[in-house]
Each structure stands twice: as structure tokens, then as C-alpha cells.
Symmetry: C2
């Protein structure tokens, strides 16, 4: 394998090696599931740094970098370096082919949960 400099090349697993447990583990982290959900709803590739403020507070970039690496190595996203930027998109078509409605139903439930929480937070505020 060709290495340019000291950085590891980006590696993506073959879809046949992607596991249900791996995906669930990746999604069990609130930052990662959120990144995936937003990536899935985006129309074009997104760069890593676009998610620095995803939690409200500023995330350390080393942490963000690790989360993207986990999403990538789990098989959920495809990353490509363009200049200094890391461009990302989900592997949704392949994932759907392999895991059926699983991922969509997870993200659907996640989005619904957030909507519910927002509502109840508003309610609390009003009191």
C-alpha cells in the first residue's frame, strides 16, 4: 500500500464485513448518531469541520476526527480528502441493500425523539 507521508490512508470496510453490532455501537454515541443523521439529510458531501458545534459547545477537533474515523471504519460513511478538507457522505444505498430498513428506522426514531424532547423543553420553559 502506498503511504503519502506519515498519515494513515483512509480505509473503508467492504460492506460484507460491516456488522449490525458495529453500526449500533457507532450510533450509541450521541455525537456520532447526530453527525450521521445530519449527513443523511444533507444533499451533498459535508466536511468534518462543519460539525464542530454540533453539540452546542465547541468540540475538540481531535475528538471530532475520532468520531468520523469510527463512523468510517464501521462502514457507515465514505470519506475522501480534498486538499486539507475531509469530505463525507453516508453509504446509504449500500447500507439499505445490506441491512434493509434498519438504519432508516433508527434515524427516524432518533429524529422523533429529538422532536419530542424539544417540545417538552418548550413546555417546561413556559411553566
Amino acid at each position: 500500500m502506498l503511504y503519502i507521508g506519515n498519515m494513515k490512508p483512509l480505509s473503508h470496510p467492504k460492506m460484507e464485513d460491516v456488522t449490525v453490532e458495529g453500526i449500533l455501537y457507532a450510533f450509541s454515541n450521541p455525537i456520532r448518531i447526530r453527525i450521521y443523521a445530519e449527513l443523511a439529510s444533507a444533499e451533498c458531501t459535508q466536511i468534518c469541520s462543519a460539525y464542530r458545534d454540533i453539540t452546542g459547545a465547541k468540540l475538540p477537533k481531535s475528538t471530532l476526527s475520532q468520531h468520523f474515523a469510527i463512523l468510517r471504519e464501521t462502514g457507515l460513511i465514505l470519506s475522501e480528502r480534498k486538499g486539507t478538507e475531509l469530505h463525507n457522505k453516508t453509504r446509504c444505498a449500500e447500507l439499505k441493500k445490506r441491512f434493509g430498513p434498519m438504519i432508516e428506522s433508527i434515524i427516524g426514531a432518533y429524529i422523533e425523539q429529538n422532536a419530542r424532547n424539544k417540545k417538552s423543553a418548550k413546555k417546561k420553559k413556559r411553566i
Copy 2:
């Protein structure tokens, strides 16, 4: 709260406090997702010790106890002590009401993955 002896009482979260991330975390462990899948397919409550050999090797009972506690405290299963035994069943109806098809699609994908792996193991053996 009434304590009988020194053991903590079994506590189950309200379904409204159960989270998507929590469920995914619980399922990200191969032993736990397997326990849940088997519990879901069982027709009656199952005792904890029924899963001692679930991995092929004998599991330490402290480990098994912890896994059941996590499934319970995540909101996935309902446990009840009967004598010295712990009887368990899934909270599938409530879960479905709250999370829609999510859990069924996860367990479906998990079962399919196992079937696929079994097949390819057989294939390997034949060679």
C-alpha cells in the same frame, strides 16, 4: 423505598425515559443483543441462567448478571424475582409503541446476519 436485605430492588425505567442511544448501546454488545433476540423469540419468561452458554463457552455469572441489569435499566426487558430465579421478558409492546419498527428491524437484520455467517462458515468448511 422498602429494601429486603442488602440487595438493590429491581428498577425499570419509565418508557418515556428510554432513549434511542441507550437501546443502541445495549445492543452493541454481542451477548446482549443475542440475549434480547432469544428473549424476543421465546414464548414465556426466561430465567437468567438459561443464557449461561449463549456464547458457546460458559459465561461467568457475574458478567451475565451485569448484562441483564443493563438490558433492564436500558428499558429493554422486564425482570422479576421468583425465588432465587430472575424471570425475564422483553417490553416489546411498549417499545414498539414508542420506537415504531426500529427494534424489530434491528433484530431482523441481526438474525439475517447470523444466518449469512452460518452459511459462509459452512461453505468454508466444505472447501
